[in-house]
Structure formats: C-alpha cells, structure tokens
Amino acid sequence: MKAFLALVVPEAAPRGRVLAALCAMLPRVGVADDGAFVCDLRGTERLLGAPARVARNAIAACGAAGAGIAPGAGIGTTPFVARIAASQVPAGTVCEIAAGGERAFLDVLPLDVLPLQPRLIDELALLGIRRIGEFLALPRGAVSDRFGQAAAIAYGLASGEAIEDVRGAVPRRRIRAKRMWDAPVDSRERLVFALRGAADELSEALRHDGLAALRIRLVLERDDLLPLRLERSLLPPSGESSAIVRSLRWGLEELPALGAVISASLEITAVEPARGRQIGLFAPDGAHAEEAIAVTQFLRTRLGPNAVLQPRVVDADARLPERVAEWEEVVR
C-alpha cells in the first residue's frame, strides 16, 4: 500500500525535538519545503499498524516532545496529498485520503494550496480558475505552454503524477549533563568538584561518538540572581574529563562573584573529531597541498560551517580596522 503521513506543526513549536521524536518512532522522516514533516509509511503496515493508528501515535509523540503541541495529520497516497490533508484538518486530528479519493478531495480546494506564485494564482483567477479541479480541467499542454514550468509541476502534483521525494533528516544529538543541588554551592572549589561527575558523563558520551570537545557552555542557575553563562573554548580540543574541568576552573576564576548556585548545566556546543591533529595549513607540512585540501575538507564535513576559515580583505579603507577583512570558508 502506498501511504505517506504528513504532520503540520505550528511554527513556534520546538521543531528539533519533534523531529527527534518522530525519527525515534518512524523510519524515513523528512522535512518538506513548507516545513511539514513527512513520513514514508510504505511497507510498514505489518510492523507499525494501520496508517491512521500510526498518525495518532505520531500526534501523541509530538505532543510529548513539544510540550503539548498537537499537529494536524494527513495520510495520502503521495506526500503532497498527505501534506494538504494535514493542513486542512483541525489541530490534533487525522485526515485520511483513501486511494482513489484524491481528486474528490483536491478538486474543491483553492489554488493557493499548490506551490504557485501569487501572480499566477491571480492570473488563473482572472481566467475563472480558482480551484484545483478547474485547474486540472485545463489541457496539460496548455498549462506548461502558457504558465511555465512551476505550473506544470503543480499540475503534476495535483494530478498525482509527480511524487515528491521524502528527504531524510537526522536531528543533531546534544551532549549535555545537568546537576542540581539542594544546598546552594557558593564556592568555586566546591563547584568545580561538583562538576567533575558531569564532566565525566560528557567525556564518556564524547568517547562513544569519537569526538573531542571544542567549545563548552556552562549555565549556572542561582538563588535570587540571574543565571550565569560561561562559554569556554578548549584548545587543543579534547575529550578528556580533566581538560574540561580545567577549562571550567579557569573560566570560573575570572568571574567576580559566584553567588549561590543551585543547578548547573554543562553542554558541549562544538566538537571536532577526537583523533584530529592540528595541521599547519600554511606551514611547511601544508606544502603538501593535496593533503592540506583533503584535511580541510575532512574538517569541514566533521565540524560543519564556520569552523575552517581564512581571512579575505573586503574593504581595505574601512574606517574600523577590524572591518578590513572578513573570515570565509577555506573550502565549500
């Protein structure tokens, strides 16, 4: 059976958490262009149950993950139909469009559910075409001829002839640990000591993924005071608990006063591969250009954007010297 499930989540929802929850329960979860989550349920019926049941479970899972959000869910034979169905129902309910029922469902809908430019929608309205059914009544040739590629694609989607891809998306894992204390911690030494356990936990998680911490963030909740944030860079990057603790201790020593700390949360906000070694790109061993480029590319894939950079002069006469150059990616 061909079945796709779509979930339309409110814009304000914690999308990352929702996506993670969906990934945990379903295979092949993707994000459509309009932000809806689309799951490919083909061949899953025996494993997971009927699509409608899956949809209800997914709604419940989203609710749990996203602090009570209730997405609308749609089931259809193409991702497009599923998405439209999901967008047409009240939050928290499921709309299933059975195979063969697509046209009856789509025909009465206004054209603006199709991926068409507003100008084109206006033009079609001038010609008396306001609903999908009327649009599909036009000869196919006339549509692409007269209104162009985008209209032809929309026509294909609406007529069920074109099927969108469901592109997979994996949520990023967060590495963090949290500690709370009943009796507030008010000295640096005690705090550092108390954070050791959390650092060990993170170190373990890093080792598991083969990563080293590059940046860490510590947020301290305090009695009667605003939370304190501490951002540290680890140079060289390290996955060792002791290195994390050492960096935290230095950071804490620079603070004027600590206050009464009641909880701490420690998170690794940037990582790089654990076995990576620093390569002097422009130093003698960088003379092996191919190796340098390969290493840069490796670093780029592991570290993501904004990590492997080089300066470029943008405005040699800038009034502020720091504006003379900007940093750009070494490789793209």
Binding site: P311, R319, L320, P321, E322, V324, A325
Partner: protein, 83 residues
C-alpha cells in the same frame, strides 16, 4: 607593514595632566612620548552604535601604535602596531 588585531587587545591608559602618559597592555607598560594623530569614528547609531576616539601613539621604545578608547565605556584597546 603593520599588525592588526582582529579582536583589539584590552589596554589600560594612564593619563598625565589630560594627556596620554602610558599604555598598559597585558604585562607590558608602554610610555607614550607623542600623540601623533587623534581622530574620531562615531556611528552606527541605528544598531548598537560605536563611538571611538583613536590615537596614534609613539612610545618610548620606538613603537608606533593605534589605540582607541570607547567613548561610552571609557575602555581602551590596542588595535594596530606599526613596524
């Protein structure tokens, strides 16, 4: 050639009778022997805004450098050292 600090280095300015006397950067103390130029850059009021008073200083050990003071916070920074 000059060396530009992308993130200007925090510095401390010591004043003598309203004129820059010495600049402390990290552990070093540079005695100012001459204020070569003095100018203002002030703008971007629509965003965070900036208001800097720039000085080009010559120090006792022959160094020529650009420093600026943030006119709102009073903090001083070393931004450029000329060779």
């Amino acid at each position: 050639m000059s060396r530009l600090f992308a993130d200007p280095l925090p510095a401390h300015m010591e004043w003598h009778e309203g004129e820059p006397g010495a600049l402390r950067v990290g552990h070093r103390r540079l005695v100012v022997v001459e204020v070569v130029r003095r100018w203002r850059v002030d703008g971007e009021w629509w965003a965070d805004g900036l208001a800097r008073e720039y000085l080009t200083l010559r120090t006792a050990d022959g160094l020529l450098c650009d420093v600026f003071g943030d006119r709102r916070t009073g903090a001083w920074f070393l931004q450029r050292v000329m060779d």
